[in-house]
């Protein structure tokens, strides 16, 4: 069946600690969204951070996403360096936002996608617990984490039903309503049942949970962490004008 966002635990080749993935998402977002244009040291830092998720995805069964994303980044970074200066008017108006979205925002989304696709719920909980995050935050976040695949699947079912019934609405508002209302109803019901099931199994008690999931930093984690924090740090230095 559909596999989008379903974690592929057990089929992975390169295993990263969930904390490394958090750090990667944070540093990528920070550096790429706030970082300066491609001059000086930033001409290395920004593309480097943007390519990390692409390379990581190559080690998962979702390597096609990685390849497509990598090619997009190459194209847009090249465009930013080369044709930006020489175009004016209309083409500049088109190129600028497209490249900005792809080189600055998309890497954050893909890094998050990488985390969703490769982290199991128990790894996620273990990672949060090691960082001493309180249960009040861990539980809702882990529910959310568990929920993304469900929402995607329910959305697909509703989409299919609309195609099958050939529903076309006169205005986009009612079209949105047709999609959102059944989705909310379905997701609320599943959420309700899921919480009930988790509670009958003792989730959320006042005892400190143990966790069988073994997480820890390896060489690969150290490399990714160095790139992430290094990139973020360099971009701060560049911003304040030290480099």
């Amino acid at each position: 069946m559909n596999t989008f966002l379903h974690t592929t635990a057990g089929k992975r080749h390169l295993r990263l600690d969930p904390r490394t993935k958090f750090a990667l998402i944070l540093c990528t977002s920070f550096t790429l969204v706030w970082g300066m244009s491609l001059i000086g040291v930033m001409a290395v830092v920004r593309p480097a951070l943007a390519f990390v998720p692409a390379i990581l995805l190559l080690f998962t069964p979702r390597l096609r996403v990685g390849i497509v994303y990598g090619i997009l980044e190459i194209l847009c970074f090249t465009a930013e360096i080369t044709v930006f200066q020489s175009t004016t008017g209309f083409w500049n108006l088109i190129l600028l936002p497209v490249c900005a979205i792809i080189t600055r925002y998309m890497p954050c989304v893909v890094a998050a996608y990488y985390m969703m696709a490769t982290t199991t719920v128990s790894e996620f909980i273990a990672g949060m617990e090691r960082m001493n995050v309180t249960q009040k935050i861990v539980i809702p976040l882990s529910v959310m984490f568990r929920f993304f695949p469900t929402i995607v699947r329910e959305h697909r079912c509703i989409n299919d039903a609309m195609r099958m019934r050939n529903i076309t609405a006169s205005n986009p508002v009612s079209m949105l309503e047709y999609r959102i209302v059944p989705l909310i109803a379905a997701v609320a019901k599943i959420g309700d049942e899921l919480s009930a099931a988790a509670l009958t199994r003792g989730f959320g008690g006042d005892v400190k949970r143990s966790n069988v999931c073994e997480i820890g930093f390896g060489v690969q984690d150290i490399i990714i962490l160095l790139i992430s924090f290094g990139g973020a740090f360099t971009s701060i230095l560049a911003k304040v004008g030290l480099i």
Partner: protein, 476 residues
């Protein structure tokens, strides 16, 4: 031991589940008790009283006391109760918290805060005891319905409960999976666990349960020992509204030489990144008849329906209706699929709008007449999602009829239904066929097949392996 004294419970408004009143019950250690009765009789509520979801998760007015293994349920927290009672629910897709099988088995023990080595030992013992080695290392999303229920039982078992509560565990399972479920329950029983099962499908529990409680309107009205219950006469069983007590069997007649009126030819489809798919060379079906599609979970039944109604874009295949070929786009316009979860296919603000939007030319009079025929006129101005499961299903059927499509497909229309509702569904489907529609139904429910289907297609590994006739189409 479970002791319930003078117990009444009513849900706060906004819940359609029935409450219970005046329950007095004593269940001994190691007993296996079956709760049966029509939908809405309070079976589910009674199971929730034992595992503490009522009143700790579902609010309401409660009166009386429940003791589960010496613990007063109202005064204990859900967390304390979770160490005594394990629960398995009906819907396999919403009872797993993690996404891989090993973490799921460990989840209950982790919540108790046991040392990691102890948890690993218990999980390994559970895997051995429940014989689920083949499920390890897999994503829960890839398991079949039967495998999921087995895993649900095993993960509850790993936390070593004293009481096991199951709410319609077989609703979505095929015959083979039901046998597996029974085997798992037998293991739990032999280990001395007290088991309480609320169920519509009864035959598979013969020889397993010690006592049967029959519920009506929130009360326990009859109590049987297992022997006299399973020896009950059919007429009496039907008057109680219960499903069959013996495994249903189908007897086929020789294929008739009737001229077929619809042909599925060369349906081929494969899911991306997997070997699973269907390959159906040529199958003849009949207009005005009901054809059941049977086969194990994962045999490709639902996939065939999805390809038939044109939802799978990459599927090959043609449908011939009275010598007219239907390619995918045309099938999408001429087939209507009533989904297993009908909530997904109702969008409008009122039932009437829902039917009107399906019509090629909206006609209010006609829509109202249709609603009347399906016993839905009372609900014409209600929101479809506020209706019960059976009513929603009838709204979807009304839309199918209103759309004037020729082929109507049903995906598991009777899973989890009691006798009365199952018969109601089969009557509606029968009427569709009599009005000249071609009807295809995927189902595990042999009682339902017996009640209304004419032909039975059997699928295995994505191929149709048999096409047999069950009964003649009655000419009206």
């Amino acid at each position: 031991m479970i002791r319930i004294e003078n117990l009444s419970f009513y849900y706060k408004r906004g819940r359609s589940d029935a409450g219970v009143n005046n329950i007095n019950l004593k269940i001994n250690m190691g007993e296996v008790v079956l709760l049966c009765g029509e939908s809405g009789c309070g079976k589910t509520t009674l199971t929730r009283l034992i595992n503490g979801l009522v009143p700790h998760y579902y609010d309401g007015d409660i009166d009386g006391t429940v003791f589960t293994h010496g613990k007063n349920v109202q005064k204990s927290t859900l967390y304390e109760l979770s160490r005594i009672v394990g629960s398995v629910f009906q819907n396999p897709r919403s009872q797993f918290y993690t996404v891989d099988t090993y973490s799921e088995l460990a989840f209950g023990c982790e919540n108790q805060g046991l040392p990691v080595d102890e948890i690993k030992k218990r999980v390994d013992e559970t895997i051995y005891f429940m014989e689920i080695e083949h499920l390890m290392g897999r994503s829960i999303f890839d398991l079949s319905g039967g495998e999921k229920q087995k895993l649900a039982c095993a993960s509850v078992w790993a936390a070593s409960p004293k009481v096991l509560v199951l709410d319609e565990p077989s609703a979505n399972l095929d015959e083979k999976a039901i046998e597996d479920l029974r085997a798992v329950l037998e293991k739990c029983k032999s280990a001395g666990i007290t088991i309480i099962i609320a169920e519509h499908r009864l035959y598979y529990l013969k020889g397993l349960v010690n006592r049967v409680l029959f519920m009506e309107n929130g009360q326990i009205t009859k109590e049987f020992d297992a022997k006299s219950f399973f020896e009950m006469k059919d007429s009496q069983r039907i008057s109680f509204g219960l499903r069959t007590l013996t495994p249903p069997t189908l007897s086929f007649s020789e294929s008739a030489n009737e001229s077929h009126s619809a042909v599925l030819s060369n349906f081929k489809f494969k899911y991306k990144h997997s070997e699973i798919g269907i390959s159906v060379k040529k199958v003849c079906i009949y207009k005005g008849a009901i054809t059941a599609i049977t086969g194990h979970n994962g045999a490709g039944k639902t996939t065939l329906l999805r390809c038939l109604c044109g939802l799978e874009k990459t599927a090959e295949g043609e449908l011939w209706l009275e010598d007219e070929v239907h390619k995918r786009k045309k099938r999408l316009k001429n087939c209507f699929l009533v989904m297993q979860d009908v909530g997904h296919q109702l969008f409008c603000e009122s039932v009437l709008d829902e039917v009107m939007i399906s019509m090629p030319n909206a006609d209010k009079e006609k829509a109202l007449a249709l609603l009347k025929a399906l016993d839905l006129e009372k609900f014409a101005s209600d929101h479809p999602l506020s209706l019960s499961g059976g009513q929603k299903q009838r709204v979807a059927i009304a839309c199918a009829v209103a759309s004037e499509r020729q082929v109507i497909l049903f995906d598991e229309p009777t899973s989890g239904l009691d006798l009365r509702h199952m018969e109601a569904v089969s009557k509606v489907i029968e009427r569709l066929a009599q009005s000249g529609k071609t009807v295809l139904v995927t189902t595990h429910d042999k009682e339902f097949i017996k009640a209304c289907c004419h032909y039975v297609l059997h699928m295995k590994n994505g191929e149709v392996t048999a096409n047999r006739i069950l009964k003649e189409v009655e000419k009206v």
